[in-house]
């Protein structure tokens, strides 16, 4: 453990720590551009120069390992001059266009030149200029501003796992570019905007729309996948301007996937901002009273068994609690939160959670992925797996669709038959799992949303039991969800009881009344005879099949609770108000219940949350993962031959918000390999 002195303060740091990190530990601030704690060390900006006694020159603290007995000065005259010099060099070719630069106000170069620069330059030649580069629909480039820190190149190569960015040419002519100017094809590409310390890479959709100081910042969570990435919603007035990731080491580190980051324009399009009632075959705007009256008239005297409810992928825990309670009051057992028909049950919480936890991936030493493409289903979890894989000694095997996951894996097979082989120990990977100390299995929705889903789940459990995936201090059994609502739905018991109808059975048109709480990714073709009530934020598949539409709030417009795939309970907060007559979802259900004379027993969100805690006590532990006990689940059965198909065919268009987003549509057109057959207006 080296002990060194920084500005007279003695610190002891772990071996392998850099001088820069030691300085920070001692409380000294070191300016930097190229250094980033999650990327490899480049040492090319020279901004982190500090003085080390007995060294003839200033040292680049980011690249110097801390040694025992070092004496470091970070604020001597020599250091000050060194920083001024480095700054002067960096600014030689950097345009002084801060007033028209989108990074202005949140620019490292701007801030650090104010703090550490000398205030003038001795350079009066011409500055170089660099042609703009195409990096796709998300990233706007102004490459003249680039200071060649190479953070973006290192991020793409190391974290995102797509080696498409690089530095071409040399010396003064060096430029950052993608290969042949292709769009950067990664689901994590937006992070290079955050990483860029200057205004060279900025957000294309956000370009010139706002300045950072005019935005209100609301800390919330993302719900467009089941990772539950922590985000900051930047809004101005009633408009969400952008999403940025928030640091959470246990969930998203400091990254955010592109769909979650750029779907925000979908919050302004296709919105349901007033109730609708179907009259003469047409959906027509109506008042809340009219909509409720229509529903009340329909439900009047109807037997509970003829009513059903489906909760969709973006439903919050509050609205699902209210929906479940309302259905109970209507004496209907037909309720389901698994619109994709996944064979998950509530008998054991560990049977539907990502038990290892996202941070736990770092400790695993073998991985079997079953019926999942984590790159599309949970891009940030995929980045974690890649991070672990890069450290080595991490055999990964995949059963399912063979896709590029950004890391190497053994491809075992396409369908459940292979899984069975592994479970029966006939496959060589079974040995690997047995030998590993902390093996893990990830079961995706592609393996569970099938007729034999329950049997596949049972097989996965068998593997977990037999190969020691679960022990006292380790649970390697993981279900990877794609929907932010799913775990909360299962926690709150939104599954059909004994003898009642599941999601697929409810959609066959035999119910009198079907309540869709934001359920859109469903087949509505057989619902012509059912009276469909749709509550949600966007006019998508569910709304077009509806007879009554109740306009709800999107996730940025309500205080709500979400549970991610690990079972982590997180609070989303309201950044803006819902548009028009739309209301927070649980209040709609509360108002409806009153109209139906089955009043729900809560008047405030606090009372509702108390009810949630009653049903599932872990809802009281915000931001925590409550480990689930390993109790029996799964029903053994016969498996089918059909290969596992991944649930996501187009990463950019998985939910109504993203489908309403122009930015996502553009991304889908640029990147998605799956080309539809065309709509009739193409070509």
């Amino acid at each position: 453990m080296p002990t060194l002195t920084v500005d007279g303060v003695e610190v002891t740091v772990d071996p392998g720590t850099t001088v820069l990190q030691a300085c920070e530990e001692a409380g000294a601030e070191i300016p930097r551009f190229c250094y980033h704690e999650r990327l490899s060390i480049a040492g090319n900006c020279r901004m982190c120069l500090v003085e080390m006694e007995k060294a003839p020159k200033l040292i680049a603290s980011c690249a110097m390992p801390a040694g025992d007995g070092m004496v470091i000065h970070t604020n001597s005259q020599k250091v000050k001059e060194g920083r001024e010099g480095a700054m002067e060099f960096l600014l030689i070719n950097h345009p002084l266009d801060c007033p028209i630069c989108d990074q202005g106000g949140e620019c490292d170069l701007q801030d650090q030149s104010m703090a550490y620069g000398s205030g003038n330059s001795r350079y009066d030649e011409l500055k170089r200029s660099v042609a703009e580069k195409n990096m796709g629909p998300l990233i706007k480039t102004t490459m003249t501003r680039c200071i060649h820190c190479t953070r973006c190149v290192r991020f793409a190569t190391e974290v995102a796992g797509v080696e498409e960015l690089g530095a071409i040419n040399r010396g003064e002519n060096m430029e950052i570019a993608t290969y042949l100017e292709q769009a950067l094809d990664s689901e994590l590409s937006g992070n290079i905007i955050d990483l860029c310390p200057v205004g060279a890479l900025t957000s294309k959709p956000y370009a010139f729309t706002a300045r950072p100081w005019e935005l209100s910042k609301t800390e919330s969570v993302d719900v467009l996948d089941a990772v539950g990435a922590n985000i900051r919603i930047d809004s101005r007035g009633k408009e969400v301007m952008r999403f940025l990731p928030r640091l959470n080491e246990d969930v998203n580190e400091e990254w955010l996937s592109d769909r979650s980051r750029f779907s925000y324009d979908g919050l302004k399009a296709q919105r349901l901002d007033t109730p609708y009632v179907r009259k003469d075959g047409q959906l027509q705007p109506a008042s809340w009273g009219e909509a409720f009256d229509t529903i009340a008239a329909k439900l009047d005297g109807l037997e509970g068994g003829k009513i059903g409810a489906l909760a969709g992928d973006l439903a919050c825990a509050e609205s699902m609690t209210a929906l479940k309670d309302l259905m109970d009051l209507l004496e209907s057992p037909n309720i389901d939160c698994r619109q994709d028909g996944a064979a998950l049950t509530t008998e054991s919480r560990s049977g539907y959670l990502f038990n290892t936890s996202i941070a736990g991936i770092d400790e695993a030493d073998a991985l079997l992925i079953v019926g999942s493409n984590p790159r599309h289903e949970a891009a940030l979890i995929n980045a974690r797996i890649r991070k672990r894989w890069k450290r080595g000694n991490f055999p990964i095997a995949l059963i399912g669709e063979q896709v590029d996951l950004t890391y190497g894996y053994d491809y075992l097979g396409a369908g459940p038959a292979t899984l069975k082989e592994v479970a029966e120990g006939k496959h060589s990977f079974a040995e690997t799992l047995k030998k590993a100390e902390r093996p893990m299995i990830i079961v995706g929705q592609g393996a569970l949303s099938r007729n034999d889903g329950a049997a596949v789940l049972a097989l996965a459990k068998k593997i977990a039991d037999e190969y020691g995936l679960v022990s006292d201090d380790w649970n390697g059994f993981n279900v990877l969800h794609t929907a932010a609502a799913r775990v909360a739905g299962l926690d709150l018991g939104l599954v059909p009881g004994e003898g009642s109808r599941s999601a697929t059975e409810m959609l066959d048109g035999s119910l009198e009344v079907l309540f869709l709480l934001g359920a859109d990714e469903i087949d509505t073709s057989k619902l012509t005879n059912s009276f469909v009530i749709y509550q949600g934020s966007h006019g998508d598949a569910g709304a077009s099949a509806a007879d009554v539409i109740l306009p709800g709030a999107a996730y940025t417009e309500k205080d709500a609770t979400w549970v991610n795939t690990e079972g982590r309970v997180q609070l989303g907060r309201r950044a803006v108000f819902p548009p028009g007559d739309a209301r927070e979802d649980w209040t709609i259900l509360r108002a409806l219940s009153e109209k139906l004379e089955k009043t729900l027993p809560y008047n405030t969100i606090r009372e509702l949350r108390e009810k949630m805690v009653e049903v599932a006590p872990h809802f009281a532990d915000i931001d925590q993962v409550t480990a689930a006990d390993w109790t029996p689940f799964g029903t053994e059965g016969t498996i089918e031959d059909a290969p596992f198909a991944n649930p996501i065919t187009d990463y950019y268009l998985t939910n109504p918000i993203s489908r309403s987003s122009r930015i996502m549509a553009e991304c889908s057109a640029t990147f998605s390999k799956v080309k539809g057959e065309g709509t009739g207006t193409n070509g």
Binding site: A131, E163, E164, L165, G166, I168, N169, R170, Y179, L180
Partner: protein, 200 residues
């Protein structure tokens, strides 16, 4: 604008070059095969008329299982890889101080007047390309022009023209000093240590 030129013609190493490439790769430890990217690019350039097209870059990338971008980074960093077609004879004219003092400007004028090309250009018949380069490290024989792999030294307008004429007529003139001189020994023969001394 991309720096890479696509020809539409597939590129593949000849059997002989595949063998050579395997030898280059074998020089590096297991798992570090990508280190062979530079010799392989050189090999590809030699096979592909002294320049690297998109197809050759990608072929090398695939050969070594290295992302194309990494190959392009190397190919654009080093000046000895040509990313656009060059003439059959690639003239690299040294213009650093010693060569310049000894008359490299005259050689440039020869290229301009005789071949009609200036820095970076290729003659219409595709025979000659001219590139001005920095020190070739043969200052003692200045001025120097490197033609493909060989140095032609101690040039002046007349003997440079003679070299170009021979090349144009299909002959390859002897490389090295173009005046009466052996390597970098004094002009016209030795000037010192003329007598043999001692028994050795």
């Amino acid at each position: 604008m991309s720096q890479v030129i696509e020809t539409g013609k597939a590129f593949e190493f000849t059997a002989e070059n595949v063998e050579k490439a395997q030898k280059f790769i074998a020089r590096y430890p297991e798992g570090r095969q990508q280190s062979a990217v530079m010799p392989l690019l050189d090999l590809a350039q030699r096979q592909n008329e002294n320049w690297l097209s998109k197809e050759t870059l990608e072929y090398v990338g695939n050969f070594l299982n290295v992302p194309y971008m990494r190959v392009l980074e190397v190919a654009t960093f080093y000046t000895m890889y040509n990313l656009k077609p060059v003439g059959k004879y690639f003239l690299q004219l040294c213009r650093t101080t010693p060569c310049w003092l000894r008359g490299s400007d005259d050689l440039e004028a020869v290229c301009k007047n005789k071949l009609g090309i200036t820095n970076g250009e290729t003659t219409e018949d595709g025979m000659f390309s001219l590139l001005e380069v920095e020190c070739l490290g043969a200052c003692v024989n200045a001025p120097v022009v490197q033609i493909n792999d060989d140095f032609y030294e101690d040039l002046n307008a007349e003997n440079f023209e003679a070299v170009l004429d021979k090349l144009a007529s299909g002959e390859v003139p002897p490389k090295g000093p173009q005046i009466d001189r052996i390597n970098s020994a004094p002009e016209g023969g030795p000037a010192t240590l003329l007598e043999k001394t001692g028994d050795a």
